[in-house]
Amino acid sequence: MELPAWLLAVSVPGGALLGVLLTLVVTRKNAQEANRTAQQETLTETLRWAAELAVSENEAEARLGVLELVKLGEDPTITGREQDLIDAALEAAQYQDKLALTVAESDADVIFSDEDVTFLDEDGIVAPPAEKEAP
């Protein structure tokens, strides 16, 4: 059976156009998938970095890690598993002090201070930490 000439004239460029459109859709989908994977990897990296900082001996680093974890936890795109990892890191960040509170008296006064904060006087000179009281 021979196809009409007009059908041949339409189907060849139409087929080519369809092919191009299909390629575009697939390429776009792949790009979106790659983008999502890259975002996921970045999030995982940031989470790992923040968790490591949060348990640092250095108080300034630990504070940065905790604040970063808090911000990551507020991200609406993160999954329940990532939320659980953030909770675990926040638990680990306070572990030592929780241990201290567990053995302390139930009516103990729990305080935190600005011991690690550097103060500058009006001449821009670092003020020495206040002397601690003798026990």
Binding site: L69, D87, A93, Q94, K98, L101, D109, V110, F112
Partner: protein, 55 residues
């Protein structure tokens, strides 16, 4: 005399974050974390003692 326990500010911040997160998800927070979250701020010079939880 009341026993005084000095904790790290990062621990307090972590405890407060967990308290908020658990409250938002309707979960209970363990008493020790709640106690840590309620820690008072005391300035190095011993003055201006205040609770910075609201800040």
């Amino acid at each position: 005399m009341t026993e005084r326990v000095v904790v790290r500010s990062s621990s307090v911040e972590a405890a407060r974050a967990l308290l908020r997160r658990n409250a938002a998800r309707g979960r209970e927070t363990d008493p020790t974390t709640s106690k840590l979250a309620g820690a008072r701020f005391v300035a190095r010079d011993g003055q201006g003692s205040e609770d910075v939880a609201a800040s």
